[in-house]
Symmetry: C2
Subunit: 328 residues, 2 copies
């Protein structure tokens, strides 16, 4: 019998989850819940139609896991605790500083309902967190470096779009090659914000806008750009559409540590991702952890969990014996 | 209270475990069990002395986890099942083809004793297995490539030493750079054995030996070298000692997969290790999983487990709340 999945929210992430379910034969999409008019949503899975978000509770016995695809700023802090009392849920809550608070709320709701709430799933937080933990547990005397990119930062692109005279924009976060090399060489450098990442901006100006002022405003914007070496390229709307319509991303978690009675040996552990589509990869992680949430709940587990709590074998449709034979 | 560790066997791996325990303040070395004369063993941990291997059972209540540091060929198939009935154990059994059989025997013994037997821990099997599994679970439509090296292969070095006229030798396994590049570029190449790895041999000949014959015999040796591009360098015993006394190793697990309704997006997940000391890194992994074995057993778990079964949080001395705050 398939694991029956509901998707809550149908933006980039929700559509990615739909595509990922189609790649996993042990899963089945039941419906997509939306706050829009359900009739207006054209799903891509044959035979499946959308449902109004406020009807979710009525479908509790038809859904094994709800994958919540809202945003971390305002959607998930409300949706995850609200849904976790009724459904096993998975979300991609990624506001690192607020994870402890989100965990507590999701945990209380999930325990009350006897369900599993799997939060902060994706690649960072998610796979990167897992690698930060594994490396630290193996090499206690070590330093970890996380680099992001090359990839599109939605937040920084939005910030540029708010500058007067900007029609549209896309911002790429790029790790500094020299910093990466120094870390990989085991030099354990102390790196400032500026030394770790570059910011490259592709900006479509409105007609007649003052380009020099736009560039200056972007480069001096506090938090977003002032602490970085930033490059601004002015391009046409057509060039933006043609060359920058994708949502690639990726990054590196590199741990550099020492072992031996005299700490005489160095070791480098590196985990990296190069993703053509950030939302589709995140969605694929969500779907694998939906499988784990379902199976852990079947085994009597309830409460809030993260990627750090999940036995890896639960992520795979294969049996323990198959995994030991094929992958161990 | 510390986790009390026994080490069973005191070769490279056992000494590495001793050094790793010194890096983990929540652990304490109780003793090293040896089949040699215990008085002949000089341990490096102040205040700790070796014990005869046949006295292990008498110390059952003084040891929380026994880390078994024997070889996979003949030691572990006997030692792990024998010790798992009495102790939580961790081993680094690495004969991939025989893991299912080793698992069954360790499982029966551990269940009988109500203990955890954690087998095949290290980096391959071990961290590499974990990454093979994670990648497959996230990207079902994907291909995985494992490359080893650059590093010393003990088995291949031994094989060279058995050639007539060879006094000593060291063999390095080296991934082929072009193959690595093609995999990283998402080309999903079909690679032959020869296309994946090179073998580089540093050979000390005996006086008067026929170098041409030695080189030919090495290069034509079935299984070990015949299917590879092999380079043979003749050097002096002093050069071998000076330039090739380390035991470095490492490698790469690269998964290349596709997502999207039309499988239109590519993703590359890469995990790599660059290790100055193969046995010390393996030992560090063993010690982290000893912590997990101890804690899982405390939580009522028994039987044989592998890295695929362990919730990652169990590997760290930190609490769940600390992990979520610092590493998630």
């Amino acid at each position: 019998m398939s694991i029956r999945i509901g998707i809550f929210g149908y933006g980039n992430l929700g559509r990615g989850v739909e595509a990922a379910i189609a790649q996993n034969p042990d899963m089945e999409l039941v419906t997509v819940f939306t706050r829009r008019d359900p009739a207006s949503l054209k799903l891509r899975t044959p035979g499946v139609v959308a449902t109004a978000a406020d009807k979710a509770a009525e479908m509790a016995d038809q859904i094994d896991v709800m994958i919540i695809c809202g945003g971390s700023a305002t959607d998930l802090p409300v949706q995850t605790p609200a849904l976790a009392a009724t459904f096993n849920v998975v979300d991609s809550f990624d506001t690192h500083a607020r994870i402890p608070e989100h965990f507590e709320k999701a945990d209380a709701a999930a325990r009350k309902g006897g369900k599993v709430a799997m939060i902060s799933v994706g690649w960072d937080p998610g796979m990167f967190s897992l690698n930060r933990l594994l490396g630290e547990a193996i090499l206690p005397d070590s330093k970890v470096y996380t680099f992001w990119g090359k990839g599109v930062s939605q937040g920084h692109s939005d910030a540029i779009r708010r500058v007067e005279g900007v029609a549209d924009a896309k911002q790429y976060t790029i790790p500094v090659a020299l910093a990466l090399e120094a870390v990989r060489a085991g030099e354990n450098p102390e790196l400032t914000t500026r030394q770790k990442h570059l910011r490259e901006c592709f900006v479509v100006p409105k007609a007649g806008a003052d380009l020099a002022r736009i560039e200056k405003e972007i480069k001096e914007m506090p938090n977003y750009f002032a602490d970085y070496d930033t490059t601004v390229h002015f391009i046409t709307a057509e060039e933006l559409r043609r060359d920058h319509s994708g949502i690639p991303h990726g990054g590196f978690v590199i741990r550099s540590g020492r072992t031996g009675m005299d700490l005489e040996h160095n070791h480098i552990i590196e985990y990296s991702l190069k993703l053509d589509s950030n939302p589709e990869f995140t969605s694929s992680v969500l779907v694998a952890y939906a499988r784990a949430a379902y199976r852990m709940n079947k085994d009597g587990v309830s409460g809030c969990k993260t990627v750090l709590d999940v036995p890896p074998a639960y992520l795979s449709p294969k049996t323990g014996a198959e995994l030991r034979k094929e992958l161990l």
